[in-house]
């Protein structure tokens, strides 16, 4: 019987890990569809960002109350993984609480800590559900989240609550069985939370308790493995990608726009024609700006997968606050949706993309949204996981203007004023220093 359970566990665990790595590989492939962007400079600063922004969740603390709740859920989730390690080893080796003899008196202390974390995770998730569904905070009822994204958020919170309840119930049954001296349930010492809860099971037989304990054990680990495989399809992927995304976050001042060496070179040849004679002729027309996800950098695409749709960006966006269509969160969600679509297309066509007459620009993100951006960087500032929606907006704008000559009439006027009068307004160059003589 034990060998059957072990075998069953190994199959379950192996399948879960296999499916997850296959999907993770697909996401990695999708991200690498983006254009190259070397972000390996200054590893010291990058590690600092990783520690402060991802591990330390520095930006979450811009709103301390929510940050503390989120930190409970995050820390709980991270630390309880140590317990998951024991559960996995128990499963593979057919043991029960393998770490008891190793850790001795430390064991109940550790489990006690995990249980406290479990209660904190539970409380945090419950409050988050209330904020989303009862208090209906503005950023959670936005139409950005209509349909799947709103359900996704609730599924995640409910799953975490269920997993924590299973963990606590399992321990309570275990403690009760230990008290009765049941076979296989080695004495561990008192667990801090479940130790108090044992009276719940007072009237039940040893057999029933064992079924409850084993049932919770299996449901808990199966739930964890299922959740692992849910991540890549969910906004919750941020629990993994927040870390690389913080590492690869831009180290430049937020005001700096990416240079376009191809245009720089063109203009150089125009202004200094004598250089043209020695310039190597290029036979490929460079593409300006971004029309689809593959024109964006891989960091933009990693951003898209790292987004957990919290909406802090949109809540701070001046255009959105004043009722314009632009929502930086939607820019990120659109980018991910389109990238997934392109990835599926490539997979279905044996590794090559087959034109589907769609692009990120227009089919997902409209000109009206792009035009409304003031480049104020509030979205970039607010994002707790180092996402830069502005960078995508600006690349799409570059495509509109340079590839399609599509700009509002006032901008076209502004361009020609700069070109002809060296100022965005129609003033004579000779009047530039008139103020100094008045």
């Amino acid at each position: 019987m034990r060998i059957v359970q072990e075998l069953l566990f190994v199959i379950l665990f192996g399948t879960a890990v296999y499916l997850f790595s296959r999907k993770a590989g697909q996401i990695r492939k999708n991200i690498l569809l983006g254009r190259d962007n070397d972000l390996n400079d200054h590893p010291d600063l990058r590690w600092k960002n990783l520690l402060l922004l991802a591990f330390g969740q520095k930006k979450m603390f811009r709103n301390p109350l929510v940050a503390v709740l989120h930190f409970f859920v995050y820390a709980g989730f991270l630390i309880i993984n140590i317990e998951i390690l024991e559960i996995i080893l128990d499963g593979i080796l057919g043991q029960h609480r393998l770490f008891v003899p190793v850790l001795g008196g430390l064991y109940p202390v550790l489990i006690g800590l995990f249980e406290i974390l479990a209660v904190l995770v539970l409380t945090g998730c419950a409050i988050f559900l209330v904020r989303r569904n009862i208090l209906k905070l503005k950023r959670f009822i936005s139409k950005d989240l209509d349909g799947w994204p709103r359900s996704d958020a609730n599924y995640i919170l409910i799953t975490e609550i269920v997993l924590m309840l299973l963990f606590l119930t399992m321990n309570t049954a275990d403690q009760a069985l230990q008290g009765r001296g049941a076979a296989h349930y080695i004495p561990t010492g008192n667990f801090w939370i479940s130790g108090i809860l044992t009276p719940i099971f007072a009237g039940m037989s040893d057999g029933t308790l064992e079924v409850i304990e084993r049932g919770c054990w299996w449901l808990h680990i199966a739930g964890v493995l299922a959740f692992l495989n849910y991540l890549p399809y969910s906004k919750h992927l941020h629990i993994i990608l927040a870390f690389p995304n913080a590492y690869y976050a831009s180290l430049e001042p937020k005001g700096e726009m990416e240079n376009m060496p191809a245009v720089q070179h063109e203009v150089q040849l125009m202004l200094q024609p004598e250089l043209a004679a020695n310039a190597p002729a290029s036979d490929t027309m460079p593409k300006f700006g971004a029309k689809d996800v593959t024109d964006l950098t891989w960091k933009n695409l990693l951003d898209a997968y790292s987004c957990t749709e919290c909406g802090r960006c949109t809540a701070a966006c001046p255009a959105n606050i004043t009722g314009k269509r632009l929502s930086p969160r939607k820019i990120m969600m659109d980018t991910r949706d389109r990238l997934e679509e392109v990835g599926r297309n490539i997979k279905a066509n044996n590794g090559t993309f087959t034109d589907d007459n769609k692009t990120l620009l227009r089919d997902y993100i409209t000109e009206e949204e792009l035009r409304a951006c003031t480049t104020c960087n509030a979205c970039v500032q607010e994002c707790p996981v180092s996402i830069n929606p502005l960078d995508i907006i600006l690349q799409l704008r570059r495509h509109l203007v340079m590839e399609e000559s599509s700009a509002p009439a006032e901008w076209t006027g502004m361009f020609s004023n700069i070109e002809n009068n060296m100022a965005p307004w129609k003033f004579s160059m000779d009047d530039r220093d008139k103020w100094a003589t008045e």
């Binding site: 430049e252 001042p253 937020k254 005001g255 700096e256 726009m257 240079n259 376009m260 245009v263 720089q264 063109e266 203009v267 150089q268 125009m270 202004l271 700006g289 701070a316 001046p318 255009a319 606050i321 004043t322 009722g323 314009k324 269509r325 009206e368 035009r371 409304a372 003031t374 480049t375 104020c376 960087n377 509030a378 500032q381 600006l394 704008r397 570059r398 495509h399 509109l400 203007v401 340079m402 700009a407 509002p408 006032e410 901008w411 502004m414 361009f415 700069i418 070109e419 060296m422 100022a423 965005p424 307004w425 003033f427 000779d430 009047d431 530039r432 220093d433 103020w435 100094a436 008045e438």
Partner: protein, 259 residues
Amino acid sequence: MHIKTMAEYAANGETPEVLFWVGCAGSFDQRAQKITKAFATILDKVGISFAILGKEESCTGDPARRAGNEFIFQMMAQNNIQLLNMYGVKKIVTACPHCFNTLKNEYPALGGNYEVIHHTSFLQSLIDEGRIKMQEGGSFKGKKITYHDSCYLGRANNIYEAPRKVLETLDAELIEMKRCRSKGLCCGAGGAQMFKEEEKGTNRINFERGQEAVATGASVIAANCPFCMTMLTDGVKEAGKEESVKVLDIAELIEQSMK
């Protein structure tokens, strides 16, 4: 006051301490010209040798670049860099955070490397060095002032304290808006919005910000950017407070309060 150009300095074989980059708004916009004059007056009073480029100055290219027109940006930038390098410019001060950002962060990639300082930081160092001395009981003493962080000085370049330190010398009561520093709300002009109508929405960004500034009860809104100046002035007007609430640049506040 005669304001010398780089060309005049060069003709005499001299180099000024600093180049004052006036910018298009500072040169042509009537309201912003007052800021330009106020800042030039301060530099003159303090005895700093400075020059402007005069008719030779061109737009930095910022609005074109942010609207998506990299060609025009590159044309402006490369011309300006050629000119600045020809004059051997080392240090630039400007009263426009958009020019500041472009000159400081975007020109180096194109071969333009200068020490670029925004006028609020420049004023702070002049105050710290004791070169600017304030009048006793200046005209803003005890008045309520609220400061509007421009996006291109604040979030874009992380300069939040220098302008506030300068304002402290006025002996005024500084009141912060709820959305201040890195949480500051944009005036609505950046990213070339200054040059076009807003998209359809429920409110204008500058009305929203003007309302917030007026709600602090301040009689002065301090700005550091000529575009914010235009937007906030309109915002205050919309809130019906143009008589009681003035929008002034930090340079103007200092110029009116220094000895």
